[in-house]
């Protein structure tokens, strides 16, 4: 099976966000990057699918050449090759332009199933996967926590407010991955060595104007200073008084 895993290079979740002087974006000085948390689950599911059904896993991303580091990490965990659609202004892309560029590449690769994280942990759009599927005219199940794939169809479960929903779909399809789907493996030394020899291709991403114009980016308003109402169980009374008469939330 021709399997594609889409990943995004995002700031580490530990990042303390600062705003650039022009008030237009995240100040990236000193920021370190990682593969978005949910995308690691997507890569794991792609490799598990290859192990079950055979085929090849391509890791696909849009970003700067520096994303090679994240691609290699994925290759060390069992993926076969990497492609970076290079765009130095990747942080300015909206979900539409990202989905369209990925769709064109997936089509060119002849992908049969695409795995992506449910959302990237920088913009939290949770949109690129289902948009990509729509541009391709494919089935898509989002936030998947359980998956059974066969050569031409699959059954996926996703969590909603109503409960656990079970979907049947035919391939090709895009699956966006939620945390409970699997436990990503660690890269062994052998995998890390092998990854160095695996091909990573860089091609410029198709340009597409963003439809989301940034007016400003700011830090959230600081919460007003709170107070410790007391120590130990004796403080419960003071807390209840505060919640009832001051905060009025009870």
């Amino acid at each position: 099976m021709n399997i594609v895993a889409c990943i995004k290079r995002v700031p580490m979740t530990e990042t303390q966000a600062k705003v650039t002087a022009d008030g237009q974006s995240l100040d990236t000085s000193g920021v370190e990057y990682m593969t978005s948390f949910y995308d690691e689950i997507a890569v794991e599911e792609a490799v598990k699918t290859k192990e079950k059904l055979g085929g090849e896993v391509t890791v696909l991303t849009i970003g700067p050449s520096d994303a090679t580091k994240q691609i290699r990490e994925c290759l060390a965990k069992g993926s076969d090759k990497g492609i970076i659609l290079t765009d130095d202004a990747w942080a300015l892309r909206d979900c539409r332009s990202t989905a369209k560029a990925l769709a064109a590449k997936v089509q060119e690769l002849g992908g049969e199933v695409v795995f992506a994280g449910r959302q990237a942990t920088d913009r939290d759009n949770a949109s690129v996967g289902p948009m990509l599927a729509t541009y391709l005219g494919w089935a898509c199940v989002t936030d998947v926590i359980e998956l059974e794939l066969e050569a031409d169809k699959g059954v996926a479960k996703r969590e909603s407010e109503a409960g656990v929903e079970t979907y049947e779909f035919s391939l090709p399809a895009v699956i966006t991955c939620q945390k409970d789907l699997n436990e990503p493996r660690y890269a062994g030394l052998k995998g890390i060595m092998a990854a160095k020899k695996k091909p990573v291709e860089e091609v410029p991403a198709a340009e597409e104007a963003s439809q989301a114009e940034v007016v400003r980016v700011e830090l959230p308003p600081a919460r007003k200073e709170g107070r410790v109402v007391g120590e130990g169980p004796d403080a419960v009374e003071a807390l209840m008084t505060a919640l009832q008469t001051e905060a009025k939330v009870l």
Partner: protein, 318 residues
């Protein structure tokens, strides 16, 4: 005339609160508001929406079976037929699933999980969190159709005294993915993103058993959901559905009670917009106290049961 189409989620003839929030937000822009309803009972729900801001309602018929790709294509069809300038729905699991596809059908981008949605002249402006709320972005749409999902609990339903004209549109036939069944939610409890009160526990509870006091406190409220820190979800004490933070859910309840949670930056990002935050932790230097409105320094196993009793008494008295 500007037209905004709102998809209003409904359940067996009753609009869901999240659906009414979306309709209220559309109405609040001052634009003409067209509601779409689908599924079993859609016609009954449609009849009520004139009272919640809809000028017109479109019922998608033949939608007893559910397919997210079909619903998306049909919503996009209505948006086109109405020549609407914007499409909104709530950021529920259905909204997050369907709205991106609607946007792609309209070759427009999506503004997800917005906390503000406004129209000035012909320009739609949205505010939405980045990095789980570490940054707040204000964005203007230049898309052909401004497609938006709205964060829960941030928009008010409206009451209007109009009667909306209801029309029907037949759903299309093509379905790529089909919903076969819905199993019970884990525990059948309130979802952490919806609940007005969230009681969250962290590593300070020592083990999975320690969460019994969290469950007792949540039960005392009657309307509380249980949340968890990443550490305890990773340890397997609680399901991921309860995780609050950058790799879990972002919540903004009326009251958030953090028990035995130190307050890592990823956790704070997920709950900092709660109206009132209470922290209970034995470490007086824990970062959670920096964002808490009220704190108690002490042993959770001593403080929480007593708090549960007090809450129970207060709820019974109200």
């Amino acid at each position: 005339m500007t037209t905004v189409v709102a998809y209003v989620d409904q359940d067996g003839g009753t609009p869901r609160p999240a659906g009414l929030e979306a309709l209220g937000a559309a109405h609040a822009t001052g634009a003409e508001t067209v509601a779409i309803v689908a599924g079993l009972g859609a016609a009954d729900a449609a009849a009520t929406l004139g009272g919640n801001g809809a000028a017109r309602v479109v019922v998608l018929t033949g939608t007893e079976t559910y397919s997210p790709d079909r619903l998306s294509a049909d919503i996009a069809g209505v948006v086109r037929a109405e020549s609407a300038q914007a499409f909104v729905t709530s950021s529920t699991s259905l909204g997050r699933d369907v709205a991106p596809r609607v946007a792609a059908h309209l070759d427009s981008t999506l503004f997800s999980d917005c906390t503000s949605f406004s129209l000035d002249g012909e320009t739609f402006t949205m505010v939405r969190p980045w990095m789980a709320g570490k940054l707040i972005a204000t964005l203007k749409s230049t898309a052909p159709v401004c497609c938006v999902t709205l964060r829960r609990n941030n928009f008010q339903p409206v009451e209007t005294d109009g009667t909306a004209a209801v029309s029907e549109t037949a759903a299309s036939a093509d379905m790529l993915a089909l919903l076969k069944e819905i199993g019970a939610a884990a525990g059948g409890k309130l979802d952490v993103s919806d609940a007005p009160v969230v009681v969250s526990g962290g590593r300070g509870l020592k083990d999975a058993d320690g969460f019994k006091i969290i469950e007792q406190l949540a039960d005392a409220f009657g309307n509380a959901a249980i949340g968890a820190s990443r550490a305890v979800v990773d340890a397997g004490w609680r399901p991921h559905a309860e995780q609050v933070g950058q790799t879990g859910k972002t919540v903004s309840p009326q009251l958030y009670i953090a028990v035995g949670i130190s307050g890592a930056i990823q956790h704070l990002a997920g709950m900092k917009t709660s109206k009132v935050i209470v922290a209970i932790n034995k470490d007086a230097d824990a970062p959670i106290f920096k964002v808490a409105d009220y704190g108690i320094v002490g042993d959770a196993f001593e403080v929480v049961p007593k708090l549960a009793e007090a809450i129970k008494a207060a709820v019974a008295a109200s």
